[in-house]
């Protein structure tokens, strides 16, 4: 392939830091988890009970995937963080391949490259090769660290291979969507929001209930479960890796075929024409902003509603999950609760995850205020009779309202099936209230985002660091029994988690005030700073 070398070197040069950070941060999670195994799982019978409770808990299975052999540190580690990391590797891979192909093309840089002695498919091949290489490096690094951390080379090899091949599948997914859509943004939404997010949800639905032959069969259709199904550290099944290998090959071939059908800069569909005059609603900053964000607002709403109802369906399986675990039921009874303690814990865990996810929607909506500026659109709108505040608010208001409304809706929808089973709507009220109490966390994150936009717009990426930190703390760092203040040092840390916590109005109002204060200070900064042009 002519020019592959040059295209690959260019892609490497532009993406090496991107991949370096992803590989470093993802590959250290496994060995870090191994070191905590003996603290978490005591020797002897109490250890058995802990493991039975963990692996029998539908919440845990929904979040983490199927458990095979938790009695050794490697198997436990893979269950505890393996599927989660595999999904994150998928995210890295899809983002990476889109950034090296469609994003460059959209900016007109691929045109420059292809004007040289470079064949049409070379930039795509380079982006795919680099993504696969990054997955390979990540797999090797994870495998090597697991060999050092636990006995059993086979388990470590299966772990590394599982992560690398899950990533490879998403190299293919990203490459395909990068051909279909002319905009990198849309390609990212489809690869991550719809395919990766949808697969994680589907996987949770299949993994959470007590296993039945039908569910076990469905599990094979879940690419995010394949790494776990190869059973690292639990008598490995190497042939399972043929599944991601085959799917990757199909997706990559599909991407190259689609690439050959289209023009540089274009999507798969010929650009359609539209209307010659704007509709009356497309007027002013508010009309424009609504037009820019309406597709994502509708998409997020549909996605969250489906997820909330789907996750909610799992809560009804809590009872059956424990009928075959008398030890645990016994323990719960001694603690003074029945299965509703577990069910409440399930709702709380789901609300915690959903709070983070809907906040992503808010951050992405608000990031429009930044991208409109760097694209030169803010300059044009702000040289009309549109004030800075009106302009900023036209995106800030939906960016705050959307996640708040979606979280409260999640609270109302999660327990719908449970309340039918109960024959009483009480549980809906309880969970909705619990969701409402978590909303100041959203306001806090978006307040921080607005603060950045007002004073240091180039640092907008920091808001993702805050969100990443909150995910790290609640999914991974919690294993370490860190000091309480560290565990709480995240947007939802100090808020009361109803109904198991008592309502604390102080924490609620202070955090809400802090978030709104940052919004106000951010708006003041936006009012008085320079607006960049293109």
């Amino acid at each position: 392939m002519t020019g592959f070398g040059a295209a690959f070197r260019l892609a490497y040069r532009r993406s090496r830091m991107f991949y370096l950070w992803w590989v470093l941060s993802l590959s250290v999670i496994l060995p870090m988890t191994v070191t905590k195994y003996h603290d978490l799982v005591p020797e002897g019978q109490s250890g058995q009970l802990v493991l039975a409770q963990l692996s029998g808990n539908p919440t845990m299975r929904a979040m983490l995937g199927p458990a095979f052999d938790l009695s050794n540190p490697g198997g436990f580690t893979f269950w505890r963080v393996g599927t989660f990391i595999a999904a994150a590797v998928g995210m890295m891979a899809a983002l990476g391949v889109i950034r090296a192909t469609r994003a460059e093309e959209e900016e007109g840089r691929v045109e420059l490259v292809r004007a040289g002695a470079v064949s049409a498919a070379a930039p795509l091949a380079a982006g795919i090769a680099l993504g696969l290489l990054a997955c390979l490096v990540l797999g090797l690094a994870s495998g090597a660290m697991m060999i050092a951390a636990t006995p059993g080379v086979a388990g470590a090899a299966a772990t590394g291979l599982g992560l690398a091949l899950t990533g490879a599948v998403f190299v293919g997914v990203g490459a395909v969507f990068a051909q279909v859509f002319p905009s990198a943004r849309t390609a990212r939404v489809w690869s991550l929001g719809i395919v990766l997010g949808g697969l994680y949800l589907a996987r949770a639905m299949v993994d959470a209930p007590v296993s039945t032959p039908t569910l076990d069969a469905w599990r094979w259709a879940m690419p995010l479960d394949w790494a776990a199904l190869a059973r690292p550290y639990a008598s490995e099944r190497w042939w399972v890796f043929l599944l991601p290998l085959g799917l990757t090959a199909i997706l990559v071939a599909l991407a190259f075929w689609l690439e050959s059908l289209r023009d540089v800069g274009a999507g798969l569909r010929a650009a359609s024409s539209g209307v010659a005059t704007a509709s009356p609603s497309l007027s002013g900053a508010v009309g424009l902003s609504w037009r820019l964000v309406r597709v994502s607002v509708i998409g997020w709403t549909i996605g969250i509603v489906i997820s909330a109802i789907g996750m909610g369906a799992l809560s009804t399986t809590v009872d059956s999950a424990f009928t075959d675990q008398p030890q645990i039921l016994d323990m719960l009874r001694k603690l003074g609760g029945g299965t509703d303690v577990i069910r409440n814990a399930f709702f709380q865990a789901m609300l915690g995850i959903m709070a983070t996810i809907v906040t992503i929607a808010g951050i992405m909506l608000l990031s429009r205020l930044r991208s409109e500026e760097t694209d030169g659109h803010s300059e044009v709108m702000l040289s009309t009779a549109t004030t800075r505040w009106r302009y900023a608010l036209s995106l800030l208001v939906p960016a705050v309202l959307l996640p708040v409304v979606l979280l409260v809706a999640t609270g109302a929808l999660l327990p719908v099936l449970q309340s039918q089973q109960d024959g009483s709507p009480t549980v809906i009220g309880t969970v909705t209230k619990a969701a409402l109490v978590l909303t100041p966390g959203i306001v806090l994150v978006l307040g921080f985002a607005m603060l950045l936009l007002g004073w240091r717009p180039r640092w907008y990426g920091l808001v993702w660091v805050v969100l990443g930190w909150s995910i790290l703390v609640s999914w991974i760092l919690a294993l370490w029994n860190p000091p309480d203040w560290l565990l709480k040092l995240q947007p939802w840390g100090y808020l009361p988690h109803l109904p198991s916590d008592p309502m604390r109005w102080g924490a609620f109002s202070i955090e809400l005030a802090l978030g709104l204060g940052m919004v106000a200070v951010g708006l003041l900064g936006y009012r008085r700073r320079d607006i960049a042009g293109r």
Partner: protein
Amino acid sequence: MSTNAIEISGLVKRFGSTVALDGLTMNVPTGQVHGFLGPNGAGKSTTIRVLLGLLRADSGTAKLLGGDPWRDAANLHRRLAYVPGDVNLWPNLTGGEAIDVIGRARGGLDKAKRAMLIERFDLDPKKKGRAYSKGNRQKVALIAALASDVELLLLDEPTSGLDPLMEKVFGDIIVSERKENTTVLLSSHILSEVERLCDHVSIIREGTVVETGTLDQLRHLHRTRLSATLSDLSILSRLSGVHDLVTENGRTTFEADDDAMPPVLAALARAGATGVTATPPSLEELFLSHYDTRVPEKALA
């Protein structure tokens, strides 16, 4: 109402350690078409962005249509229209939608004028933003700006990317705007365009205005180039205001200051010079002398 549409005095704007505007002073009287020239990076766009209230000046004052461009931005913007130098449209809005969005945000546009401009610029308003070529994106921005009735047009290299035919259409429209007493600040690199449209020009370099005036006035500030065949050079070399005297193959060439022309012509007549030619500075030379940043500024005047 102020007689100056734009008044800028001692304007300074820094970006970190870079000084973009270094005490810029400039006035544009109401109803004037003012050419704004200077090499890339001289500070033309920065000046226009300060006038739009997008950038905040570090010191100095700027007045626009009698108001403060920073504090009264939104109100002043009802009375002006702006075309950016690098037009980038919303990829999923059509050209027609973009025109309407910008026009409505300004406070409305004249539908008849909009239709006339689309016709004259030969634009397909149904195409999506991402499908337009550079020239067509430029047309969308021009139509959006010109379709409103405003007092002031701030145009930052408005014809970049337009074909010669469209450049002419643009020129004709500016000529008719001038008849309606619209003030225009036109940043441009196209000398023929400036010569045709502008009453007055300001040349900016490294953040300050180095020269301003009508094109005739600017020409007078520069030397005329003469050549002649004559035997006695001494009469010329004694005159003040004569520079770069060179004789080659019997032909003498030199440059003369504008105010030294009468004595120079008299001296040439007395010396019995033949084949006399006098060339006033071309616009191109005028600009190049200012654009070439390698030449120290002192040597230019």
